[in-house]
C-alpha cells in the first residue's frame, strides 16, 4: 500500500508513520501542507491519502476537494483535531472517505485502514 501522509506537524507525521509501520505499511510519502501534497499526488501513484485539516498554504479540506476533482475513488482519511459535527459533515460533503479525530490510538487508525481496504477489494473486478 502506498500512502500519502499530509500534516504540517513533523511530530504527527512521525507518529502516524510509526503506526503505519506496525501495520506493515512502509511506503509512505510525506507532505507538509496541501500545496506540497497536491504536487506529490500529481507526480506519483498512491493507494490512500491521510491528511490533517488545519495546515498552512492549503488546508486539508481544500486538498480533499482538489484530489476529488482528479480521483473520485482514492480513499482519503482526514486525521484532525476538528471534531465538531458540522466539520465532519463538511468533510463528508467534500468527499472524505473516513474521519479520525486527534488524539487517536493506533488501533483506531488500523480499523479505518482495514475498513477502507476491505471496501476497495469489494469493488475490484473479479
Amino acid at each position: 500500500m502506498k500512502v500519502l501522509l499530509v500534516d504540517d506537524s513533523g511530530t504527527m507525521r512521525t507518529i502516524q508513520k510509526r503506526c503505519l509501520s506496525k501495520l506493515g505499511i512502509e511506503d509512505v510519502t510525506e507532505a507538509e501542507d496541501g500545496v506540497q501534497a497536491l504536487e506529490i499526488y500529481n507526480s506519483g501513484t498512491f493507494d490512500i491519502v491521510l491528511s490533517d485539516w488545519n495546515m498552512p498554504n492549503m488546508d486539508g479540506l481544500q486538498l480533499l476537494k482538489e484530489i476529488r476533482l482528479l480521483n473520485k475513488e482514492i480513499p482519503i482519511i482526514m486525521i484532525t483535531t476538528e471534531a465538531e459535527r458540522a466539520r465532519v459533515v463538511t468533510a463528508i460533503q467534500a468527499g472524505v472517505s473516513d474521519y479520525l479525530v486527534k488524539p487517536f490510538t493506533p488501533d483506531s487508525l488500523k480499523s479505518k485502514l482495514e475498513r477502507l481496504t476491505c471496501i476497495k477489494k469489494l469493488y475490484q473486478p473479479l
Binding site: T81, R85, F104
Partner: protein
Amino acid sequence: MTSTIAGKSELTAEFVNPIISSTISVFEMMLGCTPKRTGLSLKSDHIPEHELSAVIGISGKAAGTLVLSLSKSVGIGILDRLLGITTDELNDEVCDAVCELANMIAGSAKAQLEHLEASISIPNIITGAGHSVHYPSNVSPICIAFDSEIGTFTIEAGFSDR
C-alpha cells in the same frame, strides 16, 4: 465589574471544564500520564507562567487565545514521551511536539463547545522568560495549573464574545 467584562469572564469560564478534561485526556492518550489539576486562578497580567508557550488563537462566536505554558525541561520530556527522542536543547522537534499537544487540547476543548462554532489557528511557539501573549481587550485570562510525571505546566486562556 461592568456587564461587558462580566460577560467576557463568563465566556472564559465556559472553557474551563472542557480545557481541563481535554488536557487530561490528551496527556493520557498521547503521553501515558494523567496530569492533576493543582490550581485555577485569574491572571493579573498576560505573561505566561513558564518560558515556553504554545499559543493558539481561537475565533468564531468566542474569540481569544489558549496557551500551553511549560518549561524547557517539560517540553523536552514531552518529546521523549511522544517520540522517544531525547535531547538537551529546545529545538524545532521539541517546539513542534509541544505545539501539537496544544493543538489537540484546544481542538478537543472547542469540540465540547459546538455552539460557539470556534475555529483554531495553527499553533505558534514563543520562548523566553517574561514574554507576553495577546488576549482580547479587557479579558482577564484564566490560569489552570497542572502537575504531571513530566513536570508542571499551565493552560492559560481568555476569550471574549464576537
